[in-house]
Subunit: 346 residues, 2 copies
Amino acid sequence: MKRDVVLQCPLPIDSKDTIQLAHGGGGRQMRSLIERLFMPAFANQALETRHDAAVLDVAGRIGFTTDSYVVNPLFFPGGDIGKLAVCGTVNDLAMAGAQAAFLSAGFILEEGFPIEQLQKIVASMRDAASEAGVQLVTGDTKVVDHGKADGVFINTAGIGIAAHGVEIAPRCVRSGDAIILNGDIGRHGIAVMSMREGLEFESQIVSDCASLAQPVARLLDAGIEVHCMRDLTRGGLASALIEIAIDGRVGIEVGEERIAVSEPVRAACEILGLDPLYVANEGRFIAIVPERERDRAVNILRAFNEFAACIGEVRNMEPGRVSIRSQFGTARELDLLSGEQLPRIC
Amino acid sequence: MKRDVVLQCPLPIDSKDTIQLAHGGGGRQMRSLIERLFMPAFANQALETRHDAAVLDVAGRIGFTTDSYVVNPLFFPGGDIGKLAVCGTVNDLAMAGAQAAFLSAGFILEEGFPIEQLQKIVASMRDAASEAGVQLVTGDTKVVDHGKADGVFINTAGIGIAAHGVEIAPRCVRSGDAIILNGDIGRHGIAVMSMREGLEFESQIVSDCASLAQPVARLLDAGIEVHCMRDLTRGGLASALIEIAIDGRVGIEVGEERIAVSEPVRAACEILGLDPLYVANEGRFIAIVPERERDRAVNILRAFNEFAACIGEVRNMEPGRVSIRSQFGTARELDLLSGEQLPRIC
């Protein structure tokens, strides 16, 4: 092939082809994948330099986080691994009060993976990034032999700008604080689970997978003194509450009837023997705020989801203890599960 | 188990155990892995907040990069996947003129992976991070079912401080610039390959895997006007030269006899039918500098490796063309390989 052909026209990528080891080999095939598939989706100035690292201008305090995504199946009602990989990392930044600005993406592809599926996933990432106002500025692709991965794994790391000076962390939580939940729980886990197991329920359950950048920005812009936030991914609401109670050395009391669970999710959980409190979400979080800010915080989050509500309070009791009251007044203690009810949910 | 036991003493981790799905499940087992294995290795203030994202103070221009590591085998002469995952990302930052400051780490573990091996890998990461002066401030662990990964994959993303105002990128390269290589090539690829294939050579070939933070810092601190740098990983020296020639729209001419290849590597390459110019390195890079800075740059890099040398020049010829002259005066053109001679080398 003539040099100028290589220069201007990397080999075309055919949607009907599959990923080969050579696509991760640092040669012409990898260059094609980058120039033909990744660059058109994510084009921006930093990527355009085509260098080993993006050089960015930032100022002050930043948030920095990472997550790898291994969800199975790759596509599910309400999203796919690409949307998840962008929203999940945007959300982790949001939980630290940082507005996501820049993402990296590391792909581990299994030899034989259909290019067409990769194109769909990359398009989802592009859309989710654009919606969350974040730029994907640097990336990496590795290919492993057939049978040594499971289609595609994606890692994203993110940098966010922490413009608000407030410290947001478990140690900032105080007795009397209100715990606000931004919507109904359990949808992501059940959507993925039912897809994986081929279960059909009366009404399709759609994942809540979404960026939390906006609701969080609205809370902070309104000057709400947020003490802690956490998104309710692996381990669900219960695990998030317990972790904060342990790390913040506080007790927590929540009311079961104040936690919204949709009828289809409740029914599915009953059939599957799952507790919705432990099922993973990808667009749900709790914000822990001083009691005096409770109603204002709930109102802000209701504009995004009608089921946003205050579900409980931080209590001056045994550190690490999370207690849940049923509508009949009985209380039980929540405990960390040993593992997870549903593996590979994100 | 009593709450305060969970609080103060996460379940112990036994080196003789193996990774279970539950270690990635967001419950008690994952907490043990974090508190007992990761935290002791990487302890620092940002990690101590135990939050979804690290909050860091940075100012000005930063470099941001990511790489996933899928090297096979995980342990090889001169390093392992952990050392590689730290050095590789530190080096990508260095190539953009950024001094690595903060790393994230995302682990994808295969069910059944021995805890003892994970402990070794994490210890390597700790040592490499400490040597490179970088803090691991945020992380993530996923576990996939047995047979759906290959032991462990690690992604690291890195943030570096670009203190020197110089732009370092392919587009800054100018005709007449000198190309400096910091040592002999081919050792990493051959070390991994011989380990994987169970080959034994007369003398053991040890990977060059190392942090490039120091040599690069010395170049920049000395005020050398570095136009471009690139580390010679997948695709080796040849691919790095070609990519820079394409992206910088310049031609490049190098002299074969000026490129150091150790005798054992040369012999192994001959036996294996490999071209050392295309074999991956993990501690080698080229710096492209104005001709007048050539000798100063070579001298600085010689302090780190006696084989550092000027290997060629940027030429005003067909953009993207890389030509190599043999010691007999004949010239041949280098081309991007389709894939890679050696898959899963990093």
